[in-house]
């Protein structure tokens, strides 16, 4: 605990007040540690604005959510009408609602870009593993938040989307049907489901999200930010102990971020005011029909931000299972033949692979589709331990890595596009190839990330004054 600090009785009123607070709460200390004396690399580029934009969208969602909750009715008979009431009769209710619905899509957009930044600059690597893990947990919580929030307008897509996704849980052997029943609180999605999803959406998941965001930022400020060169700025400090390539977050990055925020808001408000449905991608047309448990829509598609993972799910057919079994068999064989490890481990791997193959043969493909969808998210958590490249940043990786990352992005978008479309023969094959690439990218990373010669990494960051 700090010493009690006396201040001159002639000091200005503001100084006296600050001194009074600082003796009781570390206000100045916190501001210094996290803002004015938090040194960030000076070579951040445009990729570094999406973290602060995620925080902005989180605040927008919480504030608009509070106002929506004042008028929304979580009741199967009233929910759809209460949303229309907000859109028509609540003063400026339409603006609050469009901010919230557009905010959901904006959230995923900025978070995907933020994660991609981490991927190309190796921001997940030592010593930032925990920052990355907290971030992945935020992504998972965000998906839960968005999924449950989407049920609340109680339109046809809300209803049938929830029905499809909750039914997936029933594919889990033994506990599945009971688990699905527990989630729904009923045998079909109904009033009980709507009430519990509302509760999760407005309080449970947001609490978790906020806690994780705080942990994400604390972890980041402990280790300091990475940068596009992947150079540790703390390795080169001046005589005063401050990194030579570091600049105080405040004011340099605060003014930077205010500019980024104003440009972001132009795009965000343009969508809200001129295209709030965004051609059916942000607000699906079918969701303007009230939920009808007796009428299944011809084509059920999740909102765009879930579609890459939805394609990972749909790609796993009983046919695809043979390809996956072959992958497991070949992987285990290579490990046993090529791997340098004790015989005991090799035996364990071979035995494990046999058990997995037996399970893959005996359990329905639908379950493995669920595993594929969940695994697509969970695999991100392991990234810090999958990457064996000698350098962090894409700038100094072997050139061919760039093409691989480019294909990864294109593949992800194609998976997303296919998830919005009704199933088709060609689409099915493309999504299966895309699924294999998606998992191959991560699971083979320990091997491919070592191949090739990285370029020399400079000692200091590269920066040209604006």
């Amino acid at each position: 605990m700090a010493e009690f600090h006396e201040i001159s009785p002639n000091a200005a009123a503001g100084e006296k007040l600050l001194n009074w607070i600082d003796n009781r709460f570390p206000l100045s200390k916190l501001f210094k540690e996290h803002m004015s004396e938090y040194y960030a690399p000076k070579n951040f580029n445009i990729w570094y604005v999406f973290g602060v934009l995620s925080l902005l969208v989180l605040v927008i969602q919480i504030v608009t959510g509070i106002f929506l909750t004042m008028h929304y009715k979580p009741d199967a008979a009233l929910a759809f009408g209460s949303v229309e009431y907000i859109m028509r009769d609540v003063p400026w209710g339409w603006l609050i609602r469009y901010m919230h619905s557009t905010g959901a899509s904006a959230f995923f957009l900025v978070v995907y870009l933020h994660m991609y930044r981490g991927l190309i600059y190796g921001s997940y690597r030592k010593p930032r593993e925990l920052t990355w893990l907290f971030g992945c947990a935020i992504f998972l919580a965000l998906m839960a938040e968005a999924f449950m929030g989407y049920l609340l307008p109680w339109g046809q897509m809300s209803y049938w989307g929830a029905q499809v996704i909750v039914n997936l849980f029933s594919a889990i052997p033994f506990i599945g049907p009971d688990l699905a029943l527990l989630i729904r609180g009923d045998f079909v999605v109904g009033d009980a489901t709507l009430n519990r999803f509302f509760s999760f959406h407005v309080i449970a998941v947001p609490l978790v999200l906020l806690g994780l965001v705080v942990a994400h930022i604390i972890a980041l400020h402990e280790v300091g930010s990475n940068n596009p060169d992947g150079v540790e700025i703390k390795a080169t400090k001046g005589a005063n102990g401050i990194p030579l390539d570091g600049i105080p977050f405040h004011p340099y990055y605060t003014v930077h971020d205010i500019f980024a925020v104003s440009v972001f808001l132009m795009v965000f408000t343009a969508i809200i005011f001129f295209a709030p449905e965004m051609g059916g991608y942000f607000l699906e047309y079918n969701n303007f029909i009230p939920a009808n448990p007796f009428q299944t829509p011809l084509h059920i598609a999740p909102v765009w931000y879930f579609t890459p993972y939805y394609t990972l799910l749909r790609a796993v057919t009983s046919e695809m299972m043979y390809a996956l079994i072959a992958c497991v068999a070949v992987g285990a064989m290579l490990a046993v033949v090529k791997g340098k490890m004790p015989t005991l481990f090799k035996g364990l791997i071979a035995g494990g692979a046999l058990v997995v193959v037996a399970m893959m043969l005996s359990i329905d493909a639908k379950f493995w589709g669920v595993v594929s969808m969940g695994g697509g998210v969970v695999i991100l958590f392991f990234l810090p331990w999958l990457d064996n490249c000698a350098v962090k940043s894409i700038r100094y990786r072997p050139s061919w890595h760039k093409y691989l990352y480019a294909i990864f992005v294109i593949n992800f978008v194609v998976l997303g596009y296919l998830g919005t479309q009704p199933p088709s023969a060609i689409g099915g094959r493309v999504s299966q190839a895309g699924t294999l690439f998606y998992f191959g990218f991560f699971m083979l990373m320990p091997w491919w990330s070592r191949i090739g010669t990285p370029k020399p990494v400079p000692d200091r960051v590269t920066y040209t004054a604006h």
Partner: protein
């Protein structure tokens, strides 16, 4: 600059991939939707549409989230609404409820006539806007004695709804031409033939439907024109604000070497 080049390559690749995917999906079945005239800014057309809606649609269809007094937004006074559009026992602040008893409706048509408040928003799709769909739908009825109601619809085959506006449009018959495609004979829709005239000419009828559909589109989101108007001011403000924050940023960053 190296990284920018990398990003640009990715964006180019994305556009290419999406272009290919889009081309593969371009062929979709079903009759093409006609383009509806957009008159959501035309008060006269909207008022006429409201009149047609109240006189013809509201007998069976509700607009349960639409209040009568919201019609002041399309230039009607409360007195005009009371005198011309309100049915007995309804108040100006009430929502638009159908005269028909839902149970009877179900017995007569097999389904409950859907609520029309946001029908125009819900019917948008790959073929066009919801207004386009409704504009085509309301002009695609034809006489079909094999159906319980005596009516069928080219856009919505076996539709439960009879042609509510038949007195205006009269009776029509679709003309098909048999074409051979890949060795199969297919019936291709060629146009309409008027069998019995209605009280309106085709041109007048199309214009009335255009007004009605514009009204439905407006009713789906009564705030839509206000929204765009406010949006322009918000963007103008943010444009100026961005210039200021851009210069503020530059003023601070000129110190960083």
């Amino acid at each position: 600059m190296k990284t920018m080049g990398f990003t640009q390559k990715i964006i180019l690749g994305l556009l290419l991939a999406l272009g290919l995917a889009g081309a593969a999906q371009a062929n979709v079945g079903g009759p093409a939707w006609d383009k509806a005239p957009n008159k959501t800014n035309d008060m006269g057309a909207l008022q006429n549409g409201a009149k047609v809606f109240v006189n013809y649609c509201l007998n069976c269809h509700s607009a349960a989230y639409m209040r009568y007094n919201r019609l002041t937004d399309i230039g009607l006074t409360e007195q005009q609404i009371k005198d011309n559009l309100l049915v007995t026992n309804t108040k100006i602040g009430d929502t638009m409820t159908a005269a028909i008893d839902p149970q009877q409706a179900k017995a007569w048509f097999g389904v409950n006539p859907p609520d029309l408040t946001v029908i125009a928003r819900s019917r948008a799709g790959a073929g066009g806007s919801g207004a386009d769909y409704l504009y085509t739908y309301m002009r695609s009825f034809y006489k079909d004695e094999t159906k319980p109601t005596g009516w069928n619809n080219l856009l919505f085959p076996n539709v439960a709804m009879p042609h509510a506006l038949w007195q205006l449009q009269g009776e029509r018959r679709p003309i098909f031409e048999a074409l051979t495609e890949h060795g199969n004979v297919v019936q291709v829709f060629k146009g309409w033939e008027q069998i019995k005239p209605g009280s309106m000419t085709t041109q007048q009828y199309d214009q009335t439907i255009g007004d009605l559909v514009s009204y439905l589109q407006w009713m789906g989101e009564p705030v839509q024109n206000t929204r765009v108007r406010v949006g322009i001011w918000v963007l103008l403000f943010l444009g100026v604000f961005s210039v200021l924050t851009w210069r503020l940023n530059a003023a601070y960053w000129k110190d960083i070497k």
